[in-house]
Symmetry: C2
Subunit: 565 residues, 2 copies
């Protein structure tokens, strides 16, 4: 049973630091005010077998998505939200204004409803919006040659101080399938990739709490964790903790897919306390506003929802603009019809009115909204296959063509844009997805759900999909949307979130290794060396989940592997 | 703490059938005496939304490795062992004799040791051995054009009655990379593949309890589960249950890697009660016989161990014959030296004596032993990489060349032979392993451990390796050795075995789909149809782990996906 929604309890939020780790902050050079958060894992010494000498092992720096929660030196008050690190950067650009009040009608209704006071994040800031006629997207700046603090932050973050490594840096040459991964990520490279539309920095000016992160084929592969409550399960408190928890284990990004009541209030809590970008599917909330009747949706309700969410700070919107009226009949002979919730909503609307999808017809209007907050498009694949049988079919690829067309429109408006992909695809058909997406969408970043490589393992779909995710990440996919063990069966609890995130983190890392991302193999090498030398604690601490590894360890293992020669 | 070894308690052995499933037995045609075990899953009707009519769904037949344990009509007495289904087939060939006593000295020592009576499987049969000068391997028969009952059994089993399917048989064309997968597996095809050395039927004449199973690139991808107790954990009882349990979830094959005391007795219990082939690494037991001092190993001790195990019924031996003296120094600069236990033992022996590996020098003597029982070679990769850093290095590939040479010697003796492979390999370097193995070992079946695609996720190595396993299975690997969540950390318990087996089963199935194995997609289609129609019970029952899926299910899921058009 669902608990009544209230403000979360601060004590329920995970804050313990990772073992033997120090949070470090690397300063910017072009922008000396930036402090790029990383985690440094200290290692014990190697004991030389013959001489008995102790030889120190260099600490290992790792990419860290956990935000200030794992830094014991930071004070965190979830009732105030995280530090607004990007706020001065945004204000300095001089192209935004604080509004006196929120623009969305629905938002104001909620704010004026005193019955919601007990669950409200009360420290509301005024929303920011671009000054009239201005475009505040990272793409807009990039095209004008401006290297923003966000871009330099990302360059520093992606490199993980590989310049400073001296030990065990040996790495296999990767196979990147025509990607353009440089030896070192520079701020100028970040800018150039964003300018080309080949990378996206989800960075709503109203979510200054988030640490900048980039999606693109030439960067580290990222992962997304879906969270969100439903009409019948989970509370605001649980969802805030799930967000913090997902970031702890490695989520580069979260999507709040809440349904039911109090979506607006839940989202506020999540965004204010999220150190990573937050995405949503606005049509879910729009549908709640028309009591779940898809036919009753209107452009006006949808538009108000976009503004409502943009002023809260959502960093990207999944928009099912590619589900065109003429594509819907293409799904009739499928084994699993339309399985995307957003796709199904829009298909119903199109058929009921026998009209073209209003998200498609209003796409340029949406661009106008998004560019004033720097909300990125995540062009949803509403016709994605829901079974391997339906993989790579005509409906799926027809929609992809439309997403390619919309990508060009978004770029014309200088709105950041990436593309969602499947779904359920057998292994040998995955590559075709990546290749077609690169061709059709002109190298815009790809963001896939898995794909699941078989349908026969409910309860293990984090693994059936982890296989496909690792492969498509290798082929060039920029972000992998996690799947938890509960996929198809129920809503994930905290442990499911952890399992899903770690599974996807290892899949993304396997992809980084295979692509030959600079420095990616360093952590593997350090861990393997620790393993070989029976430095158990170092092995645990270098792993993605030190707690679990430690819990699984027992002393019965033989200690036989050895440097023989 | 380890319990004192005793005979197992029959009540501790899992026997419950799978839900809504019937064990069926398909008769042979060439060999009418054979009864091929399969599992048929009954499905509920589809309710047509508009007409309200009920439309029946065809039952689904699936490959079943669980043996008679899941057939409530079979009586099982673990103190007597399983029914010796192959015994009449073996005797009919007229080329074997029952021996009056066991040949191995060590075996007789153990049999005469009354202090072991309380833990002994007491219903010992006399061992079978080839008549003098005869070769009783399936390869030998195959080369003479003989289609054995084992071969017909396998043909029927691999097809899973796809001829009889009428519904949802749509399947994607696979990509098989030059394999020779036929539309339908015929007994003659099985014979031909065995004759070419491209497939192996592990089938010791002293393990007539096992249901015939084939390893080969043109057949369904198989999986192996390692079990076995150690000096400090687990009892005979637990290991017998682990064996039955592993088969229940889908192990096509188990390896008994027991160490410590009572290996001989433990193995007897396992073999007599195993419905699948059993492999071992004989050097582990030989090492126990010299109190763990590798330098004290001798050919004579090893030889006696091979005969001891062959007469118990071990179906294949992992033999580290490719660890040559001159290869050992090639591992000196590795991050993780030699991690194979068998490889490390033989490397120590070679260095200590500065002599060539006695398993290599006595390889033809071993062939003479193996052909008299039809024990297959699993040529071990003692120099497999233990970290991604060491993947595909000179030591690994040097050993592979030697395994290729030994394959030809085994074939000359008409002894069945397959090849073991890595290990830890980043994704982009996996294919090279398969291609080299096919070339160097002349298409002998490949049997890999994973490979693990990254080293940074201890506690999740069933997944890091499940990714690599699915890929190498697709590329042509015949059998995937499972990895459990405890890999590198501890010995797997029952739940770890289940997780490992199901993970590998799904990886193998993903490979079958990608290769386009005939009929492989049928189960996916049936499950997806059930999912789409909200036939929850059918969805659970068609999955690899119905229990877990059912446990994960909750009623909070929205029911939105729908056939719209």
């Amino acid at each position: 049973m669902k608990a009544k929604d209230t403000a979360p309890n601060a004590e329920k939020i995970s804050r313990n630091p990772f073992p033997n780790s120090t949070k470090i902050y690397v300063k910017g050079i072009m922008h000396p005010q930036i402090r790029v958060a990383m985690r440094e894992i200290a290692l014990s010494d190697t004991k030389e077998v013959i001489t008995g000498k102790s030889i120190p092992n260099e600490p290992v720096t790792v990419y860290d998505t956990s935000g200030p929660y794992t830094d014991p030196n930071k004070e965190i008050d979830i009732y105030k939200g995280l530090e607004r690190i990007r706020e001065p950067w945004i204000l300095e650009r001089g192209d935004v204004d604080y509004l006196d009040e929120f623009t969305s009608e629905y938002c104001n209704q909620r704010l004026n409803d005193t019955s919601l006071d007990h669950m409200r994040f009360s420290l509301l800031k005024k929303p920011l919006r671009a000054k009239k006629g201005r475009n505040v997207t990272q793409l807009h700046y990039a095209k004008r040659g401006i290297i923003t603090p966000e871009m330099e932050y990302i360059a520093i973050r992606e490199n993980q101080r590989i310049d400073e490594m001296t030990e065990i840096i040996k790495q296999h040459k990767g196979e990147h399938f025509g990607a353009a991964i440089p030896e070192k990520i520079t701020p100028e490279f970040v800018r150039d990739e964003v300018a080309r539309g080949r990378a996206v920095i989800p960075s709503n000016i109203n979510h200054p709490e988030a640490e900048p992160m980039i999606l693109g084929r030439n960067f580290l592969v990222k992962i997304n964790a879906n969270i969100g409550n439903s009409a019948v399960t989970s509370s605001i408190e649980e969802e805030v903790e799930k967000a913090v928890w997902a970031c702890r284990w490695g989520a580069d990004n979260i999507m709040d897919l809440s349904t039911g009541e109090n979506i607006h209030e839940t989202r506020e809590w999540i965004i204010r306390n999220s150190p990573v970008p937050v995405g949503t599917v606005p049509i879910y909330q729009a549908l709640e506003k028309v009591n779940g009747v898809a036919e009753d949706l209107t452009w006006e309700i949808f538009r108000d929802t976009l503004i409502e969410q943009a002023e809260q700070g959502v960093d990207y919107f999944t928009i099912h603009a590619g589900v065109l009226l003429r594509y819907v009949p293409m799904t009739a002979k499928r084994v699993t019809g339309i399985v995307s919730r957003g796709g199904s909503i829009m298909a119903k609307w199109c058929l009921a009115h026998h009209k073209e999808n209003f998200i498609y017809t209003h796409f340029e209007d949406i661009c106008e909204i998004l560019k004033t907050y720097d909300v990125a498009f995540s062009l949803g694949d509403g016709l994605r296959p829901g079974s391997v049988a339906d993989g790579n079919d005509a409906a799926q690829f027809a929609e992809l063509e439309t997403l390619g067309e919309l990508t060009q429109i978004a770029r014309k408006h200088e709105v950041q844009c990436f593309i969602e992909g499947p779904g359920h695809i057998p292994m040998h058909m995955i590559k075709e997805n990546m290749e077609k997406q690169i061709a059709v969408c002109d190298e815009a970043p790809f963001y896939t759900l898995g794909p699941l490589t078989t349908d026969i393992a409910p309860g293990y779909d984090h693994i059936t999909s982890g296989i496909g995710a690792a492969m498509i990440g290798w082929y060039g996919c920029a972000m992998l949307c996690y799947v938890t063990p509960k996929e198809h069966l129920g809503l994930p609890n905290k442990e499911d979130v952890r399992t899903g995130v770690v599974t996807y983190k290892l899949a993304a890392h396997a992809a980084d290794l295979a692509k030959g991302h600079p420095g990616a193999q360093h952590r593997d090498n350090a861990l393997s060396k620790a393993r070989f030398e029976f430095r158990w604690e170092d092995q645990f601490n270098l792993g993605l989940d030190p707690e679990l590894a430690r819990a699984y360890h027992d002393e019965t293992l033989p200690a036989e592997g050895a440097k023989i020669a």
